[in-house]
Symmetry: C2
Subunit: 377 residues, 2 copies
């Protein structure tokens, strides 16, 4: 499946895009990809929201010789769960990211220079509002489903509450209605590591460079939280890296150390440090309960009108299953039912990207039901 | 209870202290404290082993106006579990630490300068061998008990296997017979953060300075692993730091962020970065199974002769309860019984320092039984 990046821009000095923090953006570019065709009834559009360091490139390849397909290629394509023969799938790079949508590395129309840390603080709510502009641009009136894992699931939940009439169903995966202090804590340490890097220069590190040390440390910390004790035992155990015995050095002896190092190095090559700061902060600030009049999650979800398919993974300790159960319970307080699956998996938080064999039929069936109920309506 | 630091030195160029890595130390100083009196039968001596960043100062105060007592003061003293009216309690600062025992910041007798990273790599086995020299110096022939939490528990286990005839009982708390890849991973990221700090200078940072950024990041990472999701929810939740609403800044908004920052800053003032590298590496290398002839934990523990009181905490995810169960099971393979308690607690790994009310009677009773069985023998 060959796909290409598409771009859409909105907002101007006269009609700025207003952010939750109170500041404006006078120019917003959105990078997105779409797969399949919007049907005549416009009833088959699905929005997939990506996680922290993901991109609009959810599936397929950009060219025949593209080395790797999109980040959820096993889930999205002809005959797959997100069946591009049936559905019109949209995925856009989130606000503040570095893969084509406006973010801190974008050029400010006011100064003609990169925003860097002058970029306004953004929230999940703002990300969803950008997606809402894209939706209008695409002439979609209602999403058959909004789906996403981790930070993508937060966006899906925000959609359900902020634009209830535009969401037929919501599939939040490995996520939570609010960022826990554990997540906030790990995000904090990662950001501190970046901000304290001597090459960070208050976010003004020259183009083509990065606060490499800090960013790689931040990634290694985050990566630890995406795995699980069991998955690490199974994958690495105490296996050594190309040696018969420990070498009594601080260089990497254990395979898990080489693996983390590799993850850190790769990340520096592909993700902008300032974007990492903004997006993790947006995650910290996410608290769906605040959308409710009495700041309760039940009140917030009372605004939603959609069907929910909520999925968690047993070994996910970053967004543990009980956080998904909280959403189910808050819906129940509103006399609402939800499909909820806690998938038994050793893969930790990363399971939403890895446990495709289990995810595929659950999501595939749920989507078919939604399409049917939508067509019958 | 007023106590004072005591010092004991051993080893020389002629009679060096041989380390597991194959290198020697020609001078070893040990800082220790003792509480209570050794009885005439020499049957009441207990060794307490401290954790990663602890010291010999386990209880009491160094002066009347000492601001804080020792690190396990609620457990050690007259009438307490480690009852100084009954027992002769010894605690020594571990090899490679920075609280009085020889470590990387000590002066090398060969060069007259600080070892820094020329200090040889040390292991838990070496730490125990240093304690064994102290034991001889104190004229103790057999420990009634060797007890410790976390890294201290690893030392207790090593004692049981390396000097079986010298250990009557062993109390490993919140620990494991081997460092898991999860622990190794977090240790790795912490060390990388220190080593990559621009002020680290290959460990040659000037006396009185520290690679502050890297060391504080390392401490914050480690501190996260000492807490639990529930304890963080209870202690911090999403509470803000002296503000009514988030301020949309990267500075600390949430209480958990201020708390972590404080922990990082405090640590830089009290613990040497090079020591942190050496001791975490010793922890990584710990694998009691390697002491067994077929490298099985059961074979290793077959060498031990002592009674075991093994304690874990339900919410400890750094050294999860199943790692204690592995020790119990390995003893069972040898047709040996053990006292094992998995204490229900929300306090995470830190529980061994915090759940004193539950720990106290368990350990107090176990020690009394040991003293009785020792006296009857």
């Amino acid at each position: 499946m060959l796909v290409k990046e598409q771009f859409f821009s909105f907002a101007s000095k006269e009609e700025p895009f207003r952010l939750r923090c109170g500041k404006n953006l006078n120019e917003v570019q959105v990078c997105y990809e779409s797969y399949g065709e919007l049907n005549a009834e416009k009833s088959n559009a699905i929005l997939i929201c990506h996680a922290l360091t993901g991109s609009a490139h959810v599936a397929g390849r950009h060219s025949e010789d593209d080395r790797k397909p999109g980040w959820w290629d096993e889930m999205v394509g002809p005959g797959k769960s997100f069946d591009t023969n049936k559905y019109f799938i949209v995925c856009s790079n989130i606000l503040s990211s570095c893969y084509g949508t406006t973010g801190p590395q974008s050029t400010s129309p006011e100064t003609g220079e990169s925003y860097n840390l002058d970029f306004p603080m953004t929230t999940i709510y703002d990300m969803v509002n950008v997606q809402n502009e894209l939706m209008k641009h695409l002439d979609v009136e209602k999403w058959l489903a909004v789906a996403g894992g981790s930070l993508g699931g937060m966006q899906a939940l925000q959609w359900a509450v902020t634009y209830p009439e535009k969401v037929h169903s919501c599939i939040p995966i490995a996520t939570a209605a609010q960022c826990s202090p554990l997540s906030i804590g790990f995000n904090w340490v990662g950001r501190e590591s970046i901000i304290k890097d001597e090459n960070f220069d208050d976010g003004n590190y020259p183009k083509g460079t990065q606060p490499e040390k800090g960013l790689s440390i931040a990634r290694m910390i985050a990566h630890m939280t995406y795995l699980s004790d069991v998955s690490m035992q199974n994958k690495f155990g105490r296996k050594l890296q190309e040696m018969d015995d420990v070498n009594y050095e601080f260089t990497h002896n254990f395979q898990v150390e080489s693996y983390l190092n590799y993850q850190g190095r790769q990340f520096v090559n592909r993700f902008d440090a300032n974007s990492y700061l903004y997006i993790t902060r947006a995650m910290d600030y996410f608290n769906l309960a605040e959308e409710g009049e009495d700041k309760s999650l039940a009140q917030a979800l009372a605004k939603s009108l959609c069907q929910f398919c909520i999925i968690s993974f047993s070994s996910d300790w970053l967004f543990p299953p009980y956080q998904s159960v909280e959403i189910v319970n808050a819906l129940a307080e509103n006399h609402r039912t939800a499909t909820y699956c806690n998938i038994k998996s050793d893969a930790g938080h990363d399971a939403f990207l890895l446990e495709v064999d289990v995810l595929a039929p659950i999501i595939g069936n749920f989507l078919e039901q939604q399409l049917e109920s939508c067509s019958n309506a």
